[in-house]
Subunit: 457 residues, 2 copies
Amino acid sequence: MTAEKKGTVRVGILGLGTVGGGVFKTLHSNRETIRKRTGYEVEVTSILVRDLEKERQFDIDARLLTLYPEDVLNAEYDVLIEVMGGLEPARTVITEALRTGRHVITANKELMAKHGAELLAVAEQSGAHLLFEASVAGGIPVIRMLQGYLTANRVKGISGILNGTCNYILTEMGSTGREYADILEDAKALGYAEADPTSDVEGFDAAYKLAILTNLAYEAEVDLAQIERVGITSLQAADLELAERLGYSIKLIGNARETDDGLQLSVRPRLLPKAHPLANINDVFNAVTIQADVVGELTFSGRGAGEFPTASAVIEDLTALLCGESSIRRPSWKRRISGDAGAKKAQGNAWYLSYCCRPDDVQEIEVKVVESLLTQGAFLNARGEVAQKNGLVRQGWLVGGVSEQELQQTLQTLYKTGANERTAVLLPVEGEIVPGVEWKQQVPSINEALLSVRHAW
Amino acid sequence: MTAEKKGTVRVGILGLGTVGGGVFKTLHSNRETIRKRTGYEVEVTSILVRDLEKERQFDIDARLLTLYPEDVLNAEYDVLIEVMGGLEPARTVITEALRTGRHVITANKELMAKHGAELLAVAEQSGAHLLFEASVAGGIPVIRMLQGYLTANRVKGISGILNGTCNYILTEMGSTGREYADILEDAKALGYAEADPTSDVEGFDAAYKLAILTNLAYEAEVDLAQIERVGITSLQAADLELAERLGYSIKLIGNARETDDGLQLSVRPRLLPKAHPLANINDVFNAVTIQADVVGELTFSGRGAGEFPTASAVIEDLTALLCGESSIRRPSWKRRISGDAGAKKAQGNAWYLSYCCRPDDVQEIEVKVVESLLTQGAFLNARGEVAQKNGLVRQGWLVGGVSEQELQQTLQTLYKTGANERTAVLLPVEGEIVPGVEWKQQVPSINEALLSVRHAW
């Protein structure tokens, strides 16, 4: 794989934070490998920073640094690397670079999710390439897979753990039994969560990444409003414990699947059976499972964020340009996917339902749940309960053969009977579920049904 | 990604068994996708088969079929697809095709592991490409990753579950408690194992695949004799149960890692802690974890064999050729890696040791084990035992700070004390292990050490 010497490629960089620092250091540390395998020397000509005086953990020529985007654009460069994040000035500077025929490599998921089609069109017009492997799942080459590998294959569905912050929080809640707010503080202290964690914990970040993957897989452009989005803030440690007992993990999953009604897109916490390829992806790791028509199911996992994994994705985009830009395929995000999130609510028929109540109310609420399931033609798969520290009980049910809307109605009834509205949780369950053993015996009356449920547990 | 119409590519196929049938059917079913994305129509011009009269599950023009390799070479073709397996006539036909400038796509791991360098040299000389994604891990694009993605990255280690037959057998032994020979019969009935399973269960098949991955990652050529190879035939269901109790899975792992003594290569059953990315890969699934210097750890998993996953790999090699053969990098397997398996025995210092004995002998053998560990400066992490159906007991130990050779000596002593030599098992353990709680208290005498061990369990 040793390449002939081809010259020098000049690179401008926007941003010298965690990822930018990783890119700069790796261009230095792996210079010889890059030269040997691509034939090119990489020379950094200019770097946009926020603070010229900031102390950095590595040697850098101060003359490369500037506070002004124009300086980067006015320097000599062949490739622009954007690792600053945010919509502006990134959008303007990238547009200008592409317009003048320079290749751009970006790690900016928000920008690609919101303005990807527009930027790709500018690139196509000038003949430049816009690469964005680092925008999704850090160092995991899932974009390369969708864009460069699955060519004869048609993608049928995508499922991913796309946000490391949420995965860390859920993993810790499950393993320690501590609550969301506590773990979030730990995550901030460890640098896994930002001071304002909204984009992560409310699922915006995962939705940007899901949009990018969907755009690539379906050669379309998803409107972010089409993605049903539920964060992790209302989950209780007790839910993770109940799910575990029932044989499931709870993960925040970005999901795109083809249905008879078109493409269904969601980011929401889901119960995954332990044998699911994403069920054992823990801590800050990310993973993506792609379902395709010929190859079946492929899963890629690795570190989804951090200095070097993300820098790796940026630099491998650069080496791809250096090895043969002519063979890089242009994504086409042109066909608009119609509809909105409301119209394409998850059609799954297996659900996890949980709520808190006083121990005294347990039995009455159980009767209501079973009554409601019977009325809706639904069935019960399993049930569990854990005592919470506050003296309340959390009950969790796995139910099937029922829609989310119907279960919302069930919940309304339960609130009147004493279930705590503020702490109710309703999550989709992946995989087939079947009526539990006792349920199958054609329960003739509500009381007997309930009895059999208690018995089964 | 819609490409302009570029013409027709003519394909000859060697073999129309499971994979060949999958290739033929997919070229038909996904013809439109391939045409749209590559610009090419694919036309099959000739197929080498073993039996012209065999009934097939799909429509095929009988005039395409031939019993003679020369017919395939004499037909008009641009690309040769080899999915027949075995060394000959595959090697001769592929050499001839490459010599005359035709691209070749092969799924033949044995051929690539034994004669890859020779065939790649022929390809390089004529300007043709030899592609072999399907030779390792079925539909999982691990070769594409090593060859086309990890360019700035340097690979530091590879671990893989590379044989679906063994993974199926081990998974079933663990979940059902049934023994190897029983499960092997099931695997044969399900089509997961061949009539003669030697190549799979003794680790030859995994060694071929490990050699191919190592050759790519290290730009070298491994001699198969350099790979330490241990199969799964001596494992007992009780070992899987003991490992599970201790928090581990047992998997047949192909492993390449850099050590101070050079590259260490092995295929052998290993204990993986449950959090290891390969520990939860079950049934016939394959997975490969690559450790690289910038990106860290990446894991790819999916179906490692079967009609369509393997056909997918073959056809995606074809689409790679159609999308831009100029950008496909040539692997260089030139530098010989010196040394042999004996010289590079696994240097790990954590081990799982198990043996069968009569219940009456348990205590005496335990004393010997602890005595031996103390003498060797080793330590005990954990211990377990299960009663076997034959009235014997299987004891398993996790020990650290000791070499494999030293433990072999320990085993010799145990045999004299009543441990059954024929059923002893010694496996490397992945991950750090530390002295168990009681062991840490500076055991002053063997008897106390033993007491503390019993206590700890």
